[in-house]
Symmetry: C2
Amino acid sequence: MGQDASQPAPEEVRRGPVGVFDSGVGGLTVLHELLVQLPAEDFVYLADSARFPYGARTQAELERFALQVADELLARRVKLLVVACNSATAAALPALRARLMQTTLGVEVLGVVQPGAVQAVAATRNGRVGLLATPATVESGSYARAIADADPFVKLTSVPCPDLAAIIEAGFPFDQHVVDTVRDYTTPLREAGVDTVVLGCTHYPLVRPMLQRMLGRRVNIIVSGDPLAHQVEHVLGARGLANPRERGEGNYSFLCTGDTEAFRALGTRFLQLPLGAVEHLELGADRRGAMAGAAR
Amino acid sequence: MGQDASQPAPEEVRRGPVGVFDSGVGGLTVLHELLVQLPAEDFVYLADSARFPYGARTQAELERFALQVADELLARRVKLLVVACNSATAAALPALRARLMQTTLGVEVLGVVQPGAVQAVAATRNGRVGLLATPATVESGSYARAIADADPFVKLTSVPCPDLAAIIEAGFPFDQHVVDTVRDYTTPLREAGVDTVVLGCTHYPLVRPMLQRMLGRRVNIIVSGDPLAHQVEHVLGARGLANPRERGEGNYSFLCTGDTEAFRALGTRFLQLPLGAVEHLELGADRRGAMAGAAR
């Protein structure tokens, strides 16, 4: 570790932002939890929406994209990196950790999969957990591994939901088609008798009320942003990196590789807080091997 | 009581809807909690928006309006009545209870004030509770009395918020003006060191993320719909009135004394679930002493 846990980091490092990234607006549900749970911190959110969706990319592409994004955020002096995207977490977390630990400060990287899996294992009473996620995330096996790591005796029922993220992004207010689609996806979970369901895609918290109604209120619904925000707080505390701000809330800002107005229009529904300015950023989408910082 | 607690009510009564009413869209945040927590029940929601806002009315007017609404909902065979409006609860709960207990079935009436007050008393650890509400609700003293009834040693800090409900109704996405207004109202609560805050207006759950961020995540925020939904479940259970539906979710429908399209447009933000059909209803707004059922 770059930081000695027994003493706080230099003040300018502690006052640095937490970096958060995703391929689009979905990760804003994670940022929402971070803003609500860690009001003293500053955040910078990078949406790589020019290359959305990440679910359709190869593992090698995702690793390359994630390293580009990480370089860009490091250049903006982030003190911690949060991967608010299930696909990028599954594909790139080890590579990101290896790269960011080599930096002078040893920047930690946290992803969305493990905190949600751990919270699901902690929450279940009957040992039957459900997962709703994109086909790519289900196929990656990342949740199955993380849950088995936490408790090998938990039985996981995974439901791939091919069109759910797109339907959530397209439609507000939600209509009967959304209700029927969500109900279809919950059927295998009800049949399996799960008492805990992990939302394995950052878009899905927007249909949480619908899911809770269909699954019944005694089923625990795990939204990754919640345990992830706890983990961020623990890491900042353990590394002496917590922002020393004593009054008022921190700042948050946005970088977007795609259309900034489209990002803003969609993003407000996902963040549930005012969005503020969105800055456009070029990351050299198709220049293989291009380094992020150099591509601007 | 019209029902013997030891045996269930007749099946046609158990299959009847729960009636919910408010002067507008605010009570939809209460209906939201009821739909999520009690998916097997049917609901009928009456928005008396022709006479909105109730906060500007006299106690005598509110009592008359509430009895009109109750008669209309009784004609639709509701098995329980929920007053999802702080003003109407403060002004009309005793009169409603007296009237509805005289009916053949002895229909129970539940309001939003007491469950929120009880939950706040149960949640506080330092005995300091905050209240955010409209000036009319603060002046009515209904929360102060309900909290003192639950624990006379709890210190209540009440903040009247004259324009907050109107700002919430007017603006989405929320902008910096909303943030600044909400922050001003939280200042006295931070200064008083409260660890629990009751949202004493049904509009305020829409700024809950903002409030949690400003107050800090360790402050409990009490949204009345949550404990009220628990109370509804207890009453239905105790009176043998729970809907025997075993599969699927119940139905919910809307009656509105004002502009149905305006209600629908605003309502989706408050309900967070598809709204479906909204039926227009005349309640004889200005005919003093008119009975609701007869006024259609």
